[in-house]
Symmetry: C2
Subunit: 324 residues, 2 copies
């Protein structure tokens, strides 16, 4: 929610002169993106988003992220398309930072999603999984199951300051997940962060998916489990089975879940809840004094985790029942 | 530099339905404006700026500000034009705040203005003064000469923590300015905050003036004095007479200074420097811990004030000499 790097008009004009995008008309820093600095840039050829990658994004990962967006956009998954400069690169440098110019997507994210939005998101997620199947680059999930315990150990001794008993709860959960985590599920490119604010809608349809900066190779069904966490709980943290049913059905309009994926879903959903619980705990305990960005409250994901612990099968997510 | 109020898609769509601006396509909070929350809004009829007025702007002043922008825009002074809703109002309410939708101006502000920019700004300022002459509403300058001492007294005892001797210097300066301030200069509507970030350029021409939220009725020449402070000093605080000459000449292409105005200019420039020194000292001493907005360093204006104290006549600002 901040502009970390102020770009001068001279520097921007010089940067843009390397692209075939016409003349600069205006640019304004936008209050979106926790990790990077974003500007909305108008040129004589239209609107664009300019992203300057700040320190939390590894430069080594950028060819994967930008290449993926270009790959998906060419396969009708609407997402920002990186603009290549005259020499064919989609990665440049501006104000000492790696920078990219991408197409502007109309649409806006839905603050209070309804079941019909969840259905469209499920559909779009499956399309993303199919379109990503022939993407050549790979990226390891930096927040995979095996990264959770080392992350936890960085704040374990302070965990109970967030909620009494949290240290023991996470430790027990890690023991279960590391033992039972399914290793033979269908894998591919996943978004890994498809929260409501990363899905734009226009007139009830998905108009674009954004923010691919957690995308990686991992189990496809784990991406669905992330969406169950991100889209199917109410503001009072109650689980909305109608939304989950819509999401899973929307997904299966494009790609059917395998038997193994269906069986694994409750455990995957626990894992997804724990993954966000862990990063939120860490960010919460390490927020700088006077931070521009307010970290999310970790407790939201503790409640989601507890719900998933109570789930016996994918049927509890509304899967496979006849109701509408 | 912040979005103080988060607007939901439902609330925005409902707000926009009162205007003839088509359907909402996208909206993003922009990191501009210290006082208010601003969004860039795209609809099927084009881009707009949506402003939510936060607590530092008095609701009673909004009809003056919005009426002035509409008045000026109708007289070829390019500035954001408030959009009237279907009932003819240009002031609405959104998220419990007064809110207005204005047209989007292409252009961007010049980080390192050159003399030719100063010339264009002088020209545009005089056009604004002429176009404002028949504006019917009036607004008292809330930061006039007579408001400076009460403001100073709110932080006088802490002033020396900013710079040793500052309290005595400001006190002596107030004594001079309150005694000698000219009271019979031509008056009218002034912008009162025409800093580089409030002037958009496109291809070397002014494409728009923005941020009229300090506009008021006061001496026209005082507005020029503010611009001399805002545009004609270098980053090392040295005065650039070439820029000042260009600014004054640009102004006189449209409106000639009177004899009284020329005589008063050094004192007006001291007053303008003191006005910004005072508000910056106050903001500096009262910045909240962990503030999103970093206040400007007041010392910049102490240096400008000292320069103007050394000036003997408007000739020291490059006025009336034959050089180019």
């Amino acid at each position: 929610m901040a502009v970390y790097t102020e770009v001068s008009d001279d520097d921007l004009a010089s940067f843009l002169s390397r692209y075939e995008v016409g003349e600069l008309l205006s640019y304004k820093g936008i209050a979106e993106g926790v990790e990077n600095t974003n500007y909305i840039v108008h040129t004589t050829t239209g609107p664009y988003i300019l992203t300057l990658y700040e320190k939390r994004v590894s430069a080594d990962d950028l060819p994967f992220f930008l290449g993926l967006m270009e790959h998906l956009a060419a396969r009708q998954v609407t997402c920002p398309t990186p603009v290549r400069d005259r020499t064919g690169n989609h990665l440049g440098e501006l104000c000492g930072r790696a920078a990219a110019l991408v197409t502007f997507l109309e649409g806006f994210w839905i603050r209070r999603p309804k079941p019909e939005h969840c259905s469209k998101v499920g559909h779009a997620l499956a399309q993303l999984h199919q379109a990503g199947a022939d993407f050549k680059l790979t990226r390891r999930n930096a927040l995979s199951t095996w990264d959770w315990r080392p992350l936890f150990e960085r704040f374990a001794s302070e965990a109970d300051s967030i909620a009494p008993g949290l240290e023991a709860l996470i430790k027990a959960e890690l023991d279960v997940l590391e033992t039972d985590w399914p290793l033979a599920l269908p894998e591919g490119v996943i978004h890994a962060d498809l929260f409501p604010d990363n899905v734009f809608f226009l007139a009830k349809d998905v108009s674009g998916l954004i923010d691919f900066y957690f995308a990686c190779n991992d189990a496809l069904a784990y991406d669905i489990a992330i969406c169950l966490n991100a889209w199917c709980f109410e503001q009072d943290f109650s689980f909305n089975v109608t939304k989950a049913r819509a999401l899973l059905r929307g997904y299966e309009e494009v790609r059917s879940l395998t038997e193994d994926e269906r069986k694994a879903m409750p455990l995957l959903a626990r894992g997804a809840a724990l993954r966000f619980l862990l990063t939120r705990c860490y960010d919460w305990l390490n927020r700088p004094a006077g931070a521009v960005v307010n970290p999310h409250d970790p407790i939201d994901y503790l409640r989601r985790l507890r719900f998933h612990q109570s789930v016996r099968s994918i049927a509890d997510y509304g899967y496979g029942d006849g109701s509408r």
